[in-house]
């Protein structure tokens, strides 16, 4: 019964979605408040139905109802309860259901909290949101129904893919989807703005919190995925430039650019057309990501199953939405008025530079990700574009961006004084130089990593100087400073935090890639290995059994200068139902650095191949992302974003010189 209820709820959601996609739009045209009002209730109802469908599927998993095909294929009765929950989305069908759940969640949130918008605009936004939802309901119901039954029902399931039997699966996909799918709201806002022909600073203010929330989740989702890969794949890599990772990085870059261009739009009414385009592109990239991951054109752990029909269906959705949106953009965008003027050296100018570099970097990732697919379709040649390509194209574009980061917030709007700002950043330059000198003194050549350390410190110090300047450090008494710090808009704190986090990430990256050390050795019990200052002695192996797996745990005692720091227990985990194994790496944090031990093959003679890594500053990579998330949260809590009416801005026209 339960799967049928879920299936039925999903069909109801489709019907409600069709109503929401059409009725409010007619209402907005006719200016009929009753028809427009439909949007709110249908958005909430859609969320209710999808949530019911999702709950039904979850119930099937938790009860190990193997008469449901997806449950049979991806679950096992002996699996720990937490993985019964997470395996709901550890497969294609369930993850698409999670996708629409989050899509309707955002729709419901706009319906419930988007009070400060004109009624017709809100109705249009929700209608566009429903178009997307309807397309994906059809996709799920026609090609990826998670509620299909099996008759007769098998006694036992096939178990979840061992790599996915990890806590990472509980957090990474929902977080990533919140970001990915959250960008649908910005898309709907952009489409509504084009349909209504209304776009101004207020639009930027409405759309900013949603973009920010999606960006925060995306940041954290990507970081979690990276950490998950780092500890499960067993060789300590945290970013692979894998197409699936790129699929999440591209929307992130576009959303980051959008966040910055919205600032200009809100404050100065400039970059309107560009912001609309970015909003469309950001979600388009999310859709492309969904296509890449879900269609089976790529092989990766994320591509759960491939069925040509699915690929074609998503491709059709993709073409329809991206093509339709861009066509609407081409038709309506020329109607939008020009915004305020600014000199190249100004806050606006800096934000334009930010956008330019971010979108170009995004474009290089796009080329690197899709070129192999295009080439194979055209010539049949199979190539792989890996890390060397991205290091060569992405990094040179990101470095000037990072150099510019500390300057941006210090520049004045309209026309800024670059020498003055450089002078204010003197402290950051000094910190950067000290960092470079210290790095060279400790690590010696080559010079490049030291320069990157300098750059990271420059970004971090720049963020601190931004705050220090705003609260008047060293110029006013302490009490005034504290008062100013309290009075400083949260969004300023948010900016500084996010930029600081960026510097932290860079520091982690350079530390891990430049000064990491590794040893791969074959060890027998009571063998010893030294890596850097650390001594690893292999104490032996013990078997341990879990609910649906058996572990072969190896114990290592870690010493530094003879003093015992603790034990590390990496394991080989064998899953009984699939007869396949995974490596469970052991991690030991030393400040921001980590020791990492993972196991390779066990020989018949009892020796075991061990990989030992020292990863300096590696934790900063993810810590930085968390700081960026916190920066976003601060900014999101800014009062201005919650207060409805924009402050009465001076008319843009009045400020423009007659030319």
């Amino acid at each position: 019964m339960i799967p049928e209820i879920g299936h039925f709820a999903l069909v109801l959601a489709l019907l409600v979605g069709i109503a929401q996609a059409s009725v409010p739009l007619i209402g907005a045209r006719r200016n009929d408040p009753r028809l427009m009002g439909v949007a709110e209730s249908t958005a909430l109802a859609q969320f209710g139905f999808v949530a019911a469908a999702f709950a039904a599927l979850t119930a099937c998993y938790v009860r190990s109802d193997f008469s449901v095909l997806t449950v049979f294929e991806n679950s096992h009765s002996a699996m720990p309860l937490i993985y019964k929950f997470t395996s709901v989305w550890g497969n294609h069908e369930g993850s698409m259901l999670l996708w629409v759940l989050i899509l309707t969640l955002f729709g419901a949130l706009v319906a419930a909290f988007g009070r400060n918008m004109p009624e017709s605009f809100k109705a249009t936004v929700l209608a566009v949101q429903a178009w997307i939802a309807v397309a994906f309901y059809l996709f799920i119901l026609l090609t990826s129904n998670p509620f299909l039954r099996l008759a007769p029902a098998p006694f036992e399931g096939r178990d979840l893919n061992p790599i996915l039997q990890d806590l990472g699966l509980a957090v990474h996909p929902p977080m990533l989807y919140l970001g990915y799918v959250g960008l649908s709201i910005t898309f709907s806002f952009a489409m509504a703005a084009l349909i209504e022909g209304r776009i101004n600073a207020a639009w930027a203010r409405w759309v900013r919190p949603w973009t920010l929330a999606a960006w925060m989740c995306l940041t954290l989702g990507i970081a979690m995925g990276s950490y998950w890969a780092y500890y499960t794949l067993g060789w300590g890599g945290w970013w692979f430039w894998d197409p699936v990772e790129n699929a999440s990085l591209m929307p992130w870059l576009a959303a980051t650019a959008l966040l910055h261009s919205l600032v200009v739009m809100e404050k100065r009414e400039a970059l309107k057309v560009w912001s609309i385009l970015l909003a469309i592109l950001a979600f388009s990239l999310s859709l492309i990501g969904t296509f890449l991951v879900r269609s089976g054109v790529l092989t990766s752990v994320h591509a759960f199953a491939s069925d040509p029909m699915r690929g074609v269906f998503i491709l059709a959705i993709l073409v329809l939405f991206i093509g339709g949106a861009l066509a609407l953009f081409a038709w309506r965008a020329p109607l939008l008025k020009q915004g305020g003027l600014f000199a190249p050296v100004s806050r606006e100018g800096a934000l334009v530079l930010n956008n330019l570099l971010l979108t170009t970097a995004c474009a290089t990732v796009f080329v690197g990700t899709l070129y192999p697919l295009a080439l194979e379709a055209l010539t049949g040649d199979k190539i792989s574009v890996g890390a060397p390509f991205f290091n060569l194209t992405f990094a040179p574009l990101f470095i000037p961006l990072l150099v510019a980061v500390p300057f941006g917030p210090l520049l004045a709007w309209k026309r800024a004084d670059l020498p003055g700002v450089t002078q204010r950043l003197l402290g950051a330059f000094v910190v950067a130089l000290l960092g470079i000198a210290a790095t060279l003194a400790i690590e010696g050549h080559p010079v490049l990593p030291a320069l990157v350390v300098g750059l990271a410190l420059f970004v971090m110090a720049g963020a601190l100087i931004d705050i220090a300047e705003r609260i008047g450090t060293f110029r006013v008494p302490l009490a005034t400073m504290a008062a100013r710090a309290r009075g400083l808009p949260r969004s300023n704190w948010g900016t500084a935090l996010a930029h600081f986090g960026l510097g932290v990430v860079l520091l982690g990256i350079v530390g891990e890639t430049q000064w990491g050390a590794e040893r791969i050795v074959s060890m027998k019990p009571s063998d010893r290995v030294t890596l850097r200052h650390y001594d690893f002695s292999f104490d032996g192996t013990v078997p341990r059994s879990g609910s649906n797996y058996r572990d072969l745990v190896s114990r290592f005692t870690v010493r530094r200068d003879g003093e015992v720091l603790g034990t590390m227990q990496p394991a080989k985990r064998t899953f009984l139902s699939r007869n396949s194994s995974t490596s469970q790496a052991a991690l030991m944090a030393r400040g921001f650095s980590q020791l990492y031990v993972s196991l390779g093959d066990v020989s018949p003679d009892g020796s075991i191949v061990v990989r030992i890594y020292h990863k300096p500053m590696v934790l900063m990579i993810w810590l930085g992302a968390v700081i960026m998330f916190a920066g976003g949260a601060f900014s999101l809590s800014d009062r201005r974003l919650r207060v409805g009416a924009p402050r009465p801005a001076r008319s843009a026209a009045a400020m423009q010189p007659a030319e």
Binding site: P344, I383, P388, L392, T393, P396, G600
Partner: protein, 156 residues
């Protein structure tokens, strides 16, 4: 500055950044991409030694020889031809004889292949897509490769 000049500055800056990016992309695409080949491709295309490529196929059953814990060699086959691969390092968890594998490395003068990376399937259900395609091309694709029931059922 007039509106027109400002716009020109903006377009100029955008053009410069885009030109740099384009240059980087073209340069990188020439030097950093790696072609995928099946053993038959390597032989029929007479790939030059020293070329970096990805070699994909099945690990020939019974061909895995361990010289010691970290050095090993095995044959990669697509059914018609096979190439010997030498590898130093840890094999992925899902590396098995008779199953799909992608080895990245360089072709040596003697016609053997030195791999620095070995990728196996992500899980026991699926074969790397390139390998599946290469096998189909060589006419050695068997349905059970793609069929989870069959692979999971074989006693190992």
């Amino acid at each position: 500055m007039t509106r027109k000049r400002r716009r020109l500055t903006l377009i100029g800056a955008a053009a410069v950044v885009l030109a740099i990016a384009l240059g980087l992309v073209l340069f990188a695409l020439r030097d950093t991409i790696v072609f995928f080949n099946s053993p038959s491709d390597v032989i029929s295309n007479a790939v030059k030694p020293g070329t970096r490529l990805r070699l994909g196929g099945l690990v020939a059953p019974g061909s895995v020889v361990r010289d010691n814990d970290l050095d090993m060699h095995f044959q990669v086959t697509d059914g018609n031809h096979s190439i010997g691969v030498a590898y130093h390092g840890i094999l992925p968890d899902l590396f098995r004889e008779g199953q799909g594998v992608v080895a990245e490395g360089t072709l040596e003068p003697g016609g053997s292949f030195r791999a620095d990376t070995v990728l196996a399937k992500h899980d026991e259900k699926y074969m790397p897509k390139e390998v599946a395609d290469a096998l189909k091309k060589q006419g050695h694709w068997k349905d059970e490769y793609g069929n989870p029931g069959a692979t999971a059922g074989t006693a190992k």
